[in-house]
Symmetry: C2
Subunit: 561 residues, 2 copies
């Protein structure tokens, strides 16, 4: 199996491995080794160039530990749950929906009720010891901790980085000088206390995310650069499953994609994934069906990448409506609205109460004036009785004491809660999918290759002396030092045959190899080999830096050297 081969290679060559091995492992946690950590960095670095630099988003960095209020507002405290059953005999814990899917593949789970009753209905037993299972109960997937001593506050490890952006809405709105639309990015860890994590790097308890929250006027969900990519064609599976689109623009015009903004970030995601090396035919965008869609969401697309795990969701692009900011307004009591100025003022019919003072006076005496003022300011409601508050006292105003008048008012702005569009990237899943889609075995050899694009490859170039003697090693070290001092990631290797060293370099995806041989000592040239074509050219030492830079950024091809 491809995934088995890849996990072996990953462990052996320092890409990733299960955490805390010497203590028997820790389920759901992985380490990135020296090669994997650089690969992750490179993916994130291209992502930042796309989102922060070129789209002009604000990058922020907020804590992993967050107070309870945040997740009461977001709904995670109540809703971020899976159903769990325990074996009554051996106490093993099972995630009920996954157990049902495994045992009764044909059963389509449509509701929580199906999950709760499924265990009994299909008479499912413990897969470890055959024992009886407990009735399914909700299990919250947030990690909880205590912040501070004594009367501590509960804290939770964030299940997503998004909430750290929403709670900062006002700060960042000010940073953007109070103009919509704008976007905020955050890259960091997310945590999810999985009941029984099993899918390796794809489903971890601690994972790397890169999230974006874009804030729009709900009436104008467009993004400035849409024109640049409107003709891009992407593979979609819309909710009616029949739609094909020739371009993003067509998707918007045919109302398959709900807004230009959603279409833009579908396109950007597609371009990003291709740039880091995911083959286009392994990428598709699947729209959530109405049943899948969260109750507040307007539209949602999963970007799925194909690997040996099947089509796996790696990015989600959702139009979340005004849900997030509304929830935080309700919970915090802070105003998270913005003022939208109209291009030209609009007129509006306004209904108002008008007090009739000659009726009020005899009834309310010295309070009449105050009551009249309250009546004027009172919003016209459908309710039968008009009640006003005066000095803390509620007063019912008789019908004879007021009338309702209509007025035409000019309005030049309104306060609204911005609409949120969220592209959310799972970095570990993208990295894993990239590795699988880069892995191949050379026909003529037993060795594996990672065909990583040069700008993503963890190490740019390896440097080999043909032999570690006769001054070849000294010359090679010099070239290695020149490379690292010019910010290249270079790797020196002088052990074993050149063939073996090429193979070792190919396994961790090093795209270029420089070999120093006896000719180097006489004419100051080296051999440059390219990984995929295995083509070799001779190059002057003085040309290495400039050519290598171009080879890596793609402006030069080995074929023309």
């Amino acid at each position: 199996m491809l995934s088995k081969k890849l996990y072996d290679l990953a462990k052996r060559r320092g890409i990733f491995w299960g955490s805390f091995e010497i203590y028997g492992g820790f389920s759901g946690f992985y380490d990135y080794g020296p090669i994997g950590a650089l690969l992750k960095d490179n993916i994130i670095s291209v992502w930042k160039d796309y989102y922060v630099n070129r789209e002009g988003l604000a990058l922020i960095d907020t804590p992993n530990i967050s107070p309870e209020d945040v997740f009461r507002a977001s709904g995670h405290l109540k809703e971020f749950t899976d159903y769990i059953s325990y074996c009554k005999t051996c106490k093993t814990a099972f995630r009920v929906d996954e157990l049902l899917k495994e045992k009764v593949p044909d059963f389509v789970i449509k509701s929580n009720e199906d999950i709760i009753t499924g265990i009994e209905k299909f008479n499912i037993k413990c897969t470890v010891c055959g024992g009886e299972l407990t009735k399914p109960e909700k299990f919250n997937l947030m990690f909880e901790t205590k912040v501070g001593p004594g009367n501590f506050k509960p804290g939770y490890l964030r299940p997503e980085t998004a909430q750290g952006i929403f709670v900062n809405f006002n700060n960042i709105y000010r940073y953007f000088r109070e103009e919509l639309p704008f976007g905020v990015a955050q890259i960091g860890k997310g945590f999810r206390n999985e009941i029984a994590p099993r899918q390796g790097l794809i489903r971890q308890r601690e994972f790397n995310m890169a999230e974006v929250e874009l804030f729009f006027d709900p009436k104008n969900k467009r993004w400035k650069n849409f024109e640049n990519i409107k003709d891009l064609k992407v593979r979609i599976i819309s909710k009616n499953e029949q739609d094909l689109i020739e371009s993003l623009k067509e998707g918007v015009e045919n109302k398959i994609i709900s807004s230009e903004a959603i279409a833009y970030f579908i396109g950007l995601t597609h371009l990003f994934l291709i740039e880091i090396g995911i083959p286009a035919n392994k990428i598709r965008f699947r729209q959530h069906t109405d049943a899948e869609l969260a109750h507040y969401a307007i539209d949602c697309w999963d970007c799925e990448i194909e690997s040996s795990y099947g089509w796996v969701e790696c990015v989600g692009i959702a139009d979340r409506g005004t849900y997030d900011l509304t929830q935080h307004e309700l919970e915090s009591g802070e105003d998270l609205k913005v003022t939208i100025r109209y291009e030209s003022p609009i007129t509006k019919n306004i209904k108002k109460y008008k007090p009739i003072e000659k009726v009020l006076g005899p009834i309310f005496k010295d309070k009449a004036k105050l009551i009249a003022k309250e009546i004027e300011n009172h919003k016209v409601t459908e309710e039968k009785d008009l009640k006003v508050q005066v000095n803390g006292e509620e007063i019912v105003v008789p019908k004879e004491a007021y009338t309702i008048i209509e007025k035409i008012e000019k309005i030049s702005s309104e306060k609204i809660v911005p609409n949120v569009i969220e592209p959310s990237y799972g970095i570990d899943r993208i990295l894993y999918s990239l590795l699988e889609n880069s892995y191949y075995e050379r026909e003529e050899s037993e060795f594996h290759v990672l065909r990583l694009v040069p700008k993503i490859a963890p190490i740019n170039v390896s440097v080999f002396p043909l032999m570690p003697k006769d001054g070849l090693d000294i010359e090679a070290q010099k070239i290695h030092n020149m490379l690292v001092n010019n910010h290249f990631k270079a790797y020196y290797d002088d052990s074993g045959s050149i063939g073996k060293r090429y193979a070792r370099a190919d396994e961790i995806g090093i795209p270029f190899n420089i070999t120093i041989d006896y000719q180097t000592l006489s004419d100051q040239t080296v051999t440059l080999r390219e990984r995929d074509s295995t083509k070799q050219v001779r190059l002057n030492i003085s040309d290495i830096l400039v050519n290598l830079r171009k080879l890596i950024d793609g402006t030069l091809k080995i074929e023309v050297l």
Copy 2:
């Protein structure tokens, strides 16, 4: 106060602010805003270039949540504590050592006993309500959580990134093809459940670290590049407080600094801090006194940077001996030793037991042969009776049945536990110190400037149209797009006077400003202004990219343009 001014600026201009403001704040947690997050990224990026790229260390990335075994081994479970007292009336919690320092500044705390008895001795009361305080008790500063459901495992948020490296020693030793010395770096979050955090960015409950663990043969604590910086002079306060050194080399030769390796990383830290813009006169290295030194440590230096908080420890460089790996060997039962091959074999006098078979035979009959073998393999001890195990049975061998012989053996290698040297950087403290040391107020104006070096400045260049009209804005947008498409961090601003825009750019440390004016439309030149000198030059649009790149990496100065 400088720190007050800086916190105001930081909040106003998106550098950093207290987290979760809309929920009333969360003590000990800070957010980096759009400018701060980029600044942090840039500092980390130079750090990686120093340690990972140029020193050739392995970068790894391990989880924040770690199992209990790890911290039982490291000692954190027992020892990572502060003393706490609560007010009996208002329940406020106090960190006792800090309360004592505040209330009795002259009292020198020498031991835990001093902390425990100090409250009563000096009759210290609650600073909030004057109430009586409880007897000090230990409070563990690790955040605890539960991993998995049911019979959960306790998990802890790591108080340092180091342990994730130690537990991976064998994996990374293999990655380096089993040769000492080598080094491993990790950049990530650390967590510390402070009792009463008060010093802003300097003492947070969640903070950014960059740590390095270097593994040495204890007999050879040298680092390959020491020759390059041996003549560097750094400011030190050694444990006897009198020492001055003219160079790192002198420090090692005079045995003030305990090894070349420690001296090398003191030097590298000095160079790194200067490169990111900390003034040399604000950096010093203070050696731990024997009383401060952990019981297992051989030598330790704090790199302190001066700011309005005083001299604050920002980096620690410690020789931790063999403590860390030994502890994890004991706790995990795994072999974390390495084989050191001698350059030439050494000879050693070995004492061995030799069984006398003619005595053993009559006593032990058919077991005699097995017993003879056990005697041969038994280590010579000081104990009186020789006891061997045969088939699970303990047998006492009489003195007459063996002799002790001496043999000379050739030994070509030995197994040792590597010695650890740890440079550990507090990124938030470095960032804060850098901001304070970059902040100044221009004489002739009310505005503030952050004098950040160009390679560290969050935004490389701002682009201003003189007016947002007459096509100047279109030309400016074009230049802005050219910059971001070439990976510069550029910032477009068209509101307010040019003077105001310069001032706004200066406040967030943008080193270069490009202005597009009416002349631009006729001759394709722009104005380039440098922040500190405020010098302005005219530049062809076609020269912007190449010149800007050189200005940022320091190979070109504005004076010669």
